[in-house]
Symmetry: C2
Subunit: 478 residues, 2 copies
């Protein structure tokens, strides 16, 4: 039971109706979408409505040493929004307004609880696009900022980091700062916007986000190419990108993933059995253009190029089939989950290293008695794997080996999901200790008492976080 | 005279031939291109050849508390490479190799002393481009990283921040870290690459840079549009950018700047006297494409659109004239300098605020008895002004007012030149003290003894930096 004084303090800040504790905590607020995390009931869930309330919450939490976890929509895949038992969850679902759509500067200013779907619905009629599509439109912009979310369109438009121009943030202690602005460039001190992006709620709470918008292009076409080897997919990619046309989407899918999503969605792609039998991997290329005639030319040129580059066959999908294939690909996490995947990996390597990394992956899967199937943003080197191995110890060994392989191929643990609570042990074991130490000093520059995001990213796992836990208890007794 | 022990220590690290002191310090190493800074002779200039030497230099400097200033080619405009009298300058001109051009991953790995010209000469035959063109091809990549250099092509390709994927850096004390890699996305801890970018040599010394390359497009065309008011230029820009074609270059020039560069370069642009008399500002649009026919279509469409949007006249320049105009625009700093400009400003505002900011500028110029003329990257809101007012006190008042206006219009002091020693007083006076305090804590996380970049960016001006100066003296006596 949380201390009554804690609850009273929180209620005084956000109002009685916006603090949940005990049995009133909603089940959905006890976890995110990470496959490996057990739900945790926090001391309280609070739902602020204004920056001032967030500031008051962080002033209180910092002085009482109460751990704080930020929560957007809870669609994260690495445990970044996992509560801690002695802490509070600050849930942003009541701070979900679009504050401004500035058509002159091509900018939107939004609150962190806004979802991608809500934003897109507002932008579409005006001809604008916020181009980051991590594949889950119920995700919040605040969560996207926390994890530096990516997705399939990153090959053309970049990830969250490349599309956020500024934030309003609240530091532990309650100080409110504004970084960046409605401009794409500045050389006026350290880039605090970029530092907070991807920091998984461990440096500050973000209460407002300034987003870059792009024109929405009308025309797109989807190509599906079947390849006999993954090496031939990987070697086709630089040639395709070198021609001056940047695809909107450039994905590979192994045959396991393709079979699963085709089955799940009832897709009919028209690939003959004979080709299918010889295929090891598919490449999906989506092109877009403001001009229908250019799109047609580019599609034809890309199809020819793919054939020259060794594709067994290349299909220009009818518009609906193309859209359905992309939609099915976006559900791949849920397909994997439904099939019983025990964990997922979203490691990133230099894109030319994908075949070597996946060759390692195949060996390691056999060695650890696991099934590993995957797809990925092949233009970015971002490989998504579903891992089927129910034994936690064997799975842990396998993942550690996979991440070590990615690192040895010049990559990093996570391309877009983040480290959170669930990939922390791997990341801390593999990353240069001098970098971890530097990041911890940076963390202390923002959050000297260590109240934000305990047990995730570079903070020690919660079981060992006695200092904050004990101190928080002491705070309640004051 | 620097202590002999200091020189002996430096010579032991980089070799006798690579330490200059006293009269042997080259004149060019005593300043950068900032108009307002007086040359300073440092205690020594050292020219390391390897990362190991840089590491040894920073280990020595940190323990002896010797101030360290990094220097690339010295083309900076804000005093970022200005020496301090009791410190050393680490000059990177011997670390100027291309370590790798990786055509599969579209990446180049280079040392910081490499110039943009040298890089471009190596990339051109391979069909690649490193797209950041700050307008001075003798600038070094290391200097570009330090200032987060921009330039005319940023509207299409972004600034240095958007094109650097990773760095090798050396911390005070000598620790060597590697950040990022040959990939465009990662969500694996704080983004140290982005933090070091634009930090003006105050956090770490960068010894290697991994750059993103893009395909070099063959075809380009230059449009020149004359407008009767700056408001009409500014309101044309979002319409032009909203059409789905991103220009390579999008510049405005006021009539003063246009007259100066036309005169200096002997350009003949074919603008009739009658049009010229009615013109308040010119818009220069460069389009590029991989397809000649598309370029022609786009050029025609842009010309029509500009006419609809109120241009007095629109000229499609012959290829040579277009290239000459851009080359002349790139020399605008030197033209201003030759005409006797007393200072320059490169402030950034939301692009829709440019007319209001420039209206303020015109009032402020009159009020302070100054001539202020300008041009800028109108797609990015980055306004470049030459300021003619020889009296330092009046000029300081004027610049402070200009920067305050920029801030009040939602902008920042510098868009791409940086703060250095020369814009420091303005920036510190206008920036939120809570942000400065946070940046100082971040600085301390990297450089606890404050040896890097004394007197610039957020470090107290050198006159007041008694601690380091005194301590450095003490270090020499050991």
């Amino acid at each position: 039971m949380p201390g009554l004084e804690l609850l009273d303090s929180l209620r005084a800040i956000v109002g009685r109706d916006h603090v949940d504790a005990g049995d009133a905590v909603r089940e959905e607020d006890t976890h995110d979408e990470a496959l490996t995390a057990e739900p945790v009931r926090p001391a309280a869930v609070v739902r602020p409505h204004t920056t001032e309330e967030v500031s008051a919450l962080l002033a209180f939490a910092d002085s009482a040493l109460v751990p704080v976890v930020a929560r957007g929509s809870g669609t994260g895949l690495a445990g970044g929004a996992m509560p801690v038992a002695n802490g509070i969850v600050v849930c942003f679902d009541r701070m979900n307004r679009i504050l401004e759509i500035d058509e002159q500067n091509h900018v939107a200013v939004v609150q962190p609880g806004l979802t991608l779907r809500e934003l897109d619905d507002a932008l579409a009629p005006r001809g604008f696009l916020y181009p980051v599509y991590p594949g889950e439109m119920s995700a919040s912009l605040g969560g996207n900022v926390a994890t530096n979310a990516g997705g399939m369109r990153a090959v053309r438009y970049g990830v969250t980091r490349h599309n956020v121009l500024g934030v309003e943030l609240v530091l532990p202690g309650g100080q409110v700062l504004r970084t960046g602005g409605k401009f794409v460039k500045s050389s006026s001190g350290y880039d605090l916007t970029q530092l907070v992006l991807g920091s998984e709620g461990t440096l500050a709470l973000v209460t407002e986000v300034t987003l870059k918008l792009v024109p929405r292009l009308e025309h797109n076409a989807t190509l599906l190419a079947a390849f006999a080897t993954l090496e031939s997919v990987a070697s086709a990619v630089p040639r395709l990108l070198g021609g001056g046309v940047t695809p909107l989407i450039l994905e590979y899918l192994d045959t396991g993933v393709m079979a699963a999503i085709v089955h799940e969605s009832g897709l009919e792609l028209g690939v003959p059995d004979e080709t299918r039998a010889r295929t090891a991997a598919y490449l999906v290329v989506v092109l877009e253009s403001s001009h229908a005639d250019r799109l047609e030319q580019d599609t034809e040129a890309a199809a020819e190029l793919l054939a020259q580059l060794g594709a067994l066959d290349v299909y220009v999908l009818p518009r609906t089939a193309g859209m359905n294939l992309i939609a099915a690909r976006e559900r791949v996490f849920f397909v994997g989950k439904a099939l019983g995947a025990d964990d997922i990996v979203d490691t990133v390597v230099p894109r030319a290293e994908i075949p070597a990394f996946l060759a390692d992956t195949a060996h390691l899967a056999v060695e650890h008695g696991a099934i590993v199937s995957g797809c990925g943003h092949v233009g970015d080197g971002n490989v998504h794997l579903s891992v089927f191995q129910p034994d936690p110890a064997r799975r842990h060994d396998l993942l550690e080996s996979l991440f070590r392989s990615a690192r040895d191929h010049g990559g990093a643990v996570s391309g877009e999901h983040g480290i959170g609570t669930e990939k922390q042990s791997y990341w801390l074991a593999l990353e240069d200790p001098a970098k971890i130490a530097l990041m911890r000093r940076i963390k202390a520059a923002f959050d000297p008492n260590g109240i934000l995001g305990p047990g995730r990213l570079l903070d020690a796992p919660v079981a060992a976080a006695g200092r904050v836990a004990a101190a928080a208890g002491a705070g309640e007794q004051q």
